[in-house]
Amino acid sequence: MSNPTTSSSWKPLVVNIWRSIFRNPLPSSDLGRASTSFTNFFLHIHPVKVHRHSLKATYTLGLGLIAFFLFFILVVTGILLMFYYVPSTTQAYDRMLDLRGTVAFGIFLRNMHRWSAHGMVAVVFLHMCRVFLTGSYKPPREFNWVLGVLLLLVTLFLSFTGYLLPWDQLAFWAITVGTSIASYAPLVGKEMKFILLGDSTVGQEALLRFYVLHVAVLPAVLSLLVAIHFWRIRKDGGLSRPEEEDALPVPPAEVELVQAPAVVMATSPAAAAAAEPVLQKRNYGIQGLVRGPFTKVGNVPDRSVFAWPNLFMAELVVFLITVAGVLLVSLLFNAPLEEPVNIMHPPNPAKAPWYFLGLQEQVSYSAFWGGVGIPGIEVLLLLLVPYIDRKVAGVGRWFARERLLANFLFLTFVVVNVILIIIGTFFRGPNWEFVSPW
C-alpha cells in the first residue's frame, strides 16, 4: 500500500526533472511548435518553418538525408568494429575472421558497415545529380555546391582508405593500383604516394596510415564539412524552389485556436463565461536580424508549414527506410572477404572497388590521363559549375527546359562514367582483356 502523501510529494520532483530536460511539452499550438523546434538541441538545426515545396518527396528524393543517415550508421558501426580491429598486417585478417566466427553480431556489423559505405558513395553521387538536374546550385547556393563536391571527394577517400583495412587480396591490390595512380600526378605524385604509404610499397606503414585516416582524420573532416553544408542550407534560405512557388495563392490561413489559460478561467467568472476557444494574438517572432532569402515566419504570406511535425516526420520516415534498407541488405548478403594478402600472387584481374572501376578502365588506356588528367579536369569542372553557369532560370524544377544544355552535358558526364564502370566491372577479365559476361 503506497502512502498517498509520499507519492504526491514525489510527483512534483519527477515533473520538475522532466520539465528541466524537456522544456516544452508536446506542442499543441503553433507557438508550441515553434518553440519546440527552437529550444531542442537536436531540432534547432532545423528551421521553425519549412516551405511546402521542400517537403515534396518527388523533388528531393530524400537523397541528402539518406546520405547523412548512412554516414550516421557508418559512424556507429565503425566505432563498434574498432573494438575488435587491429591495424596490423599479421592480425588484421584474423580479426576479420573473428568477426565472422566469434564476435557476437560481428559479421552483421561488418556487413552493415560495408554496405552502408557502398550505399553512401552511390547516394552522395545521386544527390549531386539531383542538385544539378534541379538547378539547385544557382545563386545563392553556389558555395554549398562546392562543399558538396568536396564531400563527394572525402566520401570516396573514406571508402578507399577503408578498403585496405581487411588486409585481404582485394584490399592489397586495389590500394597498390590506387596509390600508383596517385604517383602519376605531376611534380608531387611520387612524394604523395610515399607519404600516403609511409613506405615505397603497401605494407604495415600503409595499413596504419590508412587506419588513422579512416577512423580519425577523414571522419572529422567529413563531419565539419557536413555541418557547414547543413548550416548553409539554412542561411541560403532553405532548399531551392521555383520562384513561382512563392507567388502561388496561400492556402487558407489556419486560424490558431487555443484554450484560454486556466488561471484566467478560475479567477474571473467573466472570462469563464467566454471560455470558448479564443484567438490568441501572435506575440512571438524570430530573434535576431533576418535578412535576405530566409524562410520568414508569420509576417508575410508564405507557403511554409511548421517543421514540427511536418519536416520531422518526413525525416523520421527517411531514417527508418534507410536503416531498414541497410539491415535488410546486411541480412541477405555478406560483405566479401577474399584470401589473405599474398604478395606473390596478384589476383588476375586485380580490380578496384566498383566506384573506382571507371577510373581503372580509363587508366588501362593511359595512366596519366586516365588516372590524373581527366579526373582532375572533371573535379575542377564540377567545382566550377556554379560559377560557369550563372543563368538564373529553371531553378527548382527537374529537367527544366531552360537548362537543357547544362543538363545534357551533365548527363553525358554521368552516363560516360557509368558506362566505364560497367565495362570495368563486367567486361574485363584476366590481363584486363575484354571478355563477355555471357
Binding site: 591490390w173 597498390t176 593500383v177 596509390t179 600508383s180 595512380i181 604517383s183 612524394e191 610515399f194 607519404i195 609511409g198 613506405d199 615505397s200 610499397t201 605494407g203 604495415q204 606503414e205 604478395i343 606473390m344 600472387h345 596478384p346 589476383p347 588476375n348 584481374p349 586485380a350 581503372q360 587508366v363 588501362s364 588506356y365 593511359s366 595512366a367 596519366f368 588516372g371 584476366p430 590481363n431 584486363w432 582483356e433
Partner: protein, 161 residues
C-alpha cells in the same frame, strides 16, 4: 585665426602609418606561422626511416641460379635472369601501376591492366609507359650476389660471374 590642421596620416592613402605597419607585420606573422605549421606537419608525416623491405639485399650465390633461369623473387619484386655466365636483376614492378608482373614465355605480363614486356623488359603491349628497369647487381666479397634497387642501370648490362 584658425590653426592649420595637420592632415591625419591615416587619410592619405599610401602612407605607411604605424598602425598599418603593425597590421601588416602581424598578418604576415600569423599567415607565416600557418604555413610553417602546415610544412612541419608534412615533414612529420614523411617517414625518415621505413620498416619494410630494404632496397639493398643479397640473393645468394650465383650457383643458385642455373643458366637459362628466370627466377622471380616476388617478395623482393625483382627477377633474376641468368644466361650462361651473365646475370642480371630486372624489376618485376609494373611501370604502369605497380602490380607485380608475372614471368611468361615471351617475357613478362602484368595481371592488372594487361601490360606486356619482352625478355629484356621492353614494353611490347598494354598501357605500360616505359620498360622494366634493370638494377645494379654486384658480387659481394663473401661470394653472394647483391642487388641494389636504388641504382638503375641500362638494360643489357649483365654481371659476368
Amino acid at each position: 585665426m584658425k590653426t592649420p590642421v595637420k592632415p591625419a596620416l591615416e587619410e592619405s592613402g599610401d602612407a605607411m602609418t604605424r598602425r598599418r605597419l603593425l597590421s601588416w607585420l602581424s598578418g604576415f606573422g600569423l599567415f607565416g606561422s600557418l604555413i610553417i605549421t602546415a610544412f612541419s606537419n608534412l615533414i612529420f608525416i614523411k617517414p625518415r626511416a621505413t620498416y619494410g623491405q630494404p632496397n639493398r639485399f643479397s640473393i645468394g650465390r650465383p650457383d643458385d641460379f642455373p643458366s637459362g633461369a628466370r627466377v622471380s623473387l616476388d617478395e623482393r619484386r625483382v627477377c633474376i635472369v641468368r644466361d650462361g655466365d651473365k646475370i642480371a636483376a630486372i624489376s618485376t614492378t609494373c611501370t604502369h601501376l605497380g602490380c607485380i608482373v608475372a614471368v611468361s614465355e615471351t617475357g613478362f605480363s602484368c595481371p592488372c591492366h594487361g601490360s606486356r614486356y619482352d625478355q629484356d623488359g621492353n614494353v611490347t603491349g598494354g598501357p605500360a609507359p616505359r620498360a622494366l628497369p634493370w638494377f645494379q647487381i654486384t658480387l659481394a666479397p663473401n661470394g653472394e650476389i647483391e642487388v641494389d634497387k636504388d641504382t638503375e642501370i641500362e638494360a643489357g648490362n649483365y654481371l659476368r660471374v
